[in-house]
Amino acid sequence: AQSVAQPEDQVNVAEGNPLTVKCTYSVSGNPYLFWYVQYPNRGLQFLLKYITGDNLVKGSYGFEAEFNKSQTSFHLKKPSALVSDSALYFCAVRDMYQGGKLIFGQGTELSVKP
């Protein structure tokens, strides 16, 4: 079975500092990994994905993620956090055996304080 885990329910960062939101995965076969962000009372917005190729993936709003096969991790990063980055972040893995449904982690609440 494929799964992702987000070990931190909440991450607190000061504005201007780098941020990391952690994600580990468990898959059989090649991992296809995604990060989404959810603002209050809104749907999920796509940030970035890893399919193949470079381990460092760049996405929207200055976010990037590092794929590490040996550690089965796909951590989301940003060099300098903004207060407006405060939101709920979800890591997901795509199930390639039954139509490509996404399997989500439980989410990490990011709080960026001025």
């Binding site: 749907g43 999920l44 979800f90 039954q98 139509g99 490509g100 449904k101 996404l102 439980q106």
Partner: protein
Amino acid sequence: GAGVSQTPSNKVTEKGKYVELRCDPISGHTALYWYRQSLGQGPEFLIYFQGTGAADDSGLPNDRFFAVRPEGSVSTLKIQRTERGDSAVYLCASSFKERVYRGLRIYEQYFGPGTRLTVT
């Protein structure tokens, strides 16, 4: 362009009633997914359509839940005899179908704003 839209944005219904939730995907997207998100949780898969057919309905919790996509565009999620445990945000997503020919292309799913269902 227009994103995925869902109606209604909020639905309050009494236990035992029937409800329909509608999803309008992005034009040209052949793949359509329904997910359910409970408070404090990540979205959980319900059903996947490729065109008009339900290619994977393994996430539907029981036979009270049903979904259709008769013309390969708009989809309706139908819940019969609603229970309080059905209360959640129902999310719809659409994407292009993944392509294998001439190189693998995996497309991201674009989500609608959701329908918040409350069963009293």
